[in-house]
């Protein structure tokens, strides 16, 4: 009620009367901004997910659970059952889990070594890593696309160094063909899960370093040294001293990157074969003009979001459980 009065009298008088209420006004304004920019679009997606598609045209507002049912058993149920959309959700999780683990596991030793450098060197590295964040997903995917291309990338290197010929002579080439990593002429790395996961972990690697850095730079080195003097080996120190000390940031970083990667679109659409596409790609193919099925796209988005929420909640639960022990 007081807030309403302040709005009526205007911010100037409010500030003159009571300095605190200006702050409160600001917080209300911020809340309004957040509501319009975040909550309203989300509610819209949620409401649209109950809409109904009209064959050969667009969609209309409605209240039907058919879109959610389709996600689990397909549109032709009960005549036919497909787990296509669950499979896509599975791939979303698979890519996000593997890529975030890969990023954190490789960033960990790097950041550990980084935190032991001189301050100048540390600053230089961090600036370099931060600046690499300015590259968008599209640029990174384009870069890897060129690096893995037949005439200009890794396959060309394989061919010119004679590695392709060697693989053919030793019979390994056939194995690569069976794995889908070669055509009859040369090795090929796209489209493949290898390229998809590689690009995705490359995408979040700078985040992993930046998120792990504060924790690793605060590590008390005297603890490791004490363990060393008591005769513990390098691996033993890492396992029993360093890892337990940074367990929380390690876990948090992985979880954050995982959620971030769940929605990856460009890398998957370019590097993964359609048999291994994720929910994000399916959402776009449904809402775009060629299909105009926004309700089903919205239903998939809601399910993806809920799955991410469940993962975060589980992560939190595991964490508190581990803390309590």
């Amino acid at each position: 009620m007081t807030v309403a009065e302040h709005i009526e009298t205007g911010p100037e008088t409010a500030r003159a009367a009571k300095p605190l209420s200006a702050v409160r006004l600001l917080s209300w304004a911020l809340t309004a901004v957040i509501v319009t920019l975040c909550v309203v679009p989300f509610l819209l997606v949620f409401v649209i997910s109950f809409g109904r598609k009209i064959e050969g045209a667009a969609w209309v507002w409605d209240f039907t659970l058919a879109n959610y049912q389709r996600f689990f058993v397909g549109a032709l149920w009960p005549d036919d059952v497909t787990f296509l959309y669950l499979q896509q959700l599975g791939f979303s999780f698979w890519y996000a889990v593997i890529a975030s683990l890969l990023a954190v596991l490789t960033a960990l030793p790097f950041t550990l070594l980084l935190s032991r450098l001189s301050r100048r060197a540390q600053a230089a590295w961090l600036v370099f890593i931060l600046s690499s964040l300015s590259l968008s997903e599209v640029f990174i995917v384009m870069g890897w696309d060129i690096l893995l291309s037949n005439n200009s990338g890794l396959p060309a290197l394989f061919k010119s160094t004679g590695l392709t010929q060697w693989l053919k002579d030793t019979g390994w080439f056939q194995v690569l063909r069976d794995w889908g990593l070669a055509s009859p002429r040369n090795v090929k790395f796209k489209t493949s899960q290898f390229a998809t996961i590689l690009t995705m972990s490359y995408l979040v690697w700078p985040y992993a370093v930046i998120l792990l850095y504060p924790a690793l730079s605060r590590l008390d080195r005297s603890q490791s040294e004490a363990a060393r003097t008591m005769g513990a080996g390098g691996w033993c120190v890492a396992r029993t001293v360093i890892l337990p000390a940074i367990r929380l940031p390690l876990f948090g970083t992985t979880l954050l990157l995982f959620v971030f990667l769940l929605g990856t679109y460009v890398a998957v659409t370019v590097f993964a074969a359609p048999a291994q596409h994720s929910t994000a790609v399916a959402i776009y193919s449904n809402i775009r003009g060629a299909n105009l099925n926004a309700p089903f796209g919205a239903a998939q988005a809601v399910i993806l979001l809920m799955s991410a929420g469940v993962c975060l909640a589980l992560g939190h639960r595991i964490n508190t459980w581990a803390e309590a022990r």
Binding site: K53, P184, P274
Partner: protein
Amino acid sequence: MIKLNRRTLLKTGAASLAASSVLGTPLIAQSRSLKIGSYGGYFENSFKEFVYPAFTEATGITVESVTQPNSTDWLVTMQQATAAGSVPADLSLYARDTLIKASRIGGLLKPLNLKAIPAASNLDPYFVFEAPEGPLGVGAMSWFTAMVINPGEVDAPASWAEFWDSTIYESSLGLSRNYNSQFLDIVAATFFDGEATFATDEGILAIIEKAAEIKPNVALWWSAESQMEQSMKNGDVIGGQYYLDVANLMALDGFPIKPIFPKEGNPQDYGSWCLSSLSDKADEAAEFINFSSDPATQAIMSRKIGTAPLVDQSKTDLTDEEFAFVSGTPSIKPAYEAYLDKETFIKESWDKMLAGA
């Protein structure tokens, strides 16, 4: 005092405004204008450079070019704009399936007055789309999705069926990933009875099953045109389906790509000029469509944009060589109605096939 001044000023101002609007009417009528949408990039630029100036010269109507991303996404934009009460373009360029979709949604397009478009008689009646409320679209130009190969790697196939041969094409082809981007029409024309096979669900499933057999030979299922362009340039794929006009342009630039008309032919699609239901420029639009249907304009588009003319070659001054560059026979007509009537069924069956689920 000041108040009085202001009031007199307002009065005289209103009077002069009214006078000028009366006097200005013929002036406005002389500078007529029209907003026309076309697909952005090379396509739109060619229109701005070659087609619109010729139209303005012929009729005095100035054209404001509007960029469309493509046909289908533009329909979403226009649908929302129509609901909001103000549209960005008078005329839009829609592919036939989008045009049918727009007519089914209803309220988006205004019927055209064919009496004001006498040149439309040059076109095959198939290219004038008649809906119950009247003609909604008149053909603008046509384009082919052609078979392409890398001539440095393989010999030209005589039939689409050769793409199924894994001894030559294992992991080597680039095909379009969308269910309605005409690969199914190619399969139907090559192995079945063409459009007629789309009439039943069993027919469609048989076509999709046949399409599944080509999967081991496909290295790239492209969704954006540029993906296929890059892959052909980089040698990641040595054949597949691609737009005839872009393939020809790439070949002219020296890239290893050659479009081919195999014995079954290539799918032919076309774009139509459609008038927005909110547009008040029906007369100007009719004049433009009339201009566009003229064989001379059709020839300009073929030469400058690389699209196929919708009028008979004999009506234009295109040489056989020029015509062969933009067109070919036979042409496969896409099963538009089936794609729309069984949209969800075909999309899900196709996606299932691709995913192996």
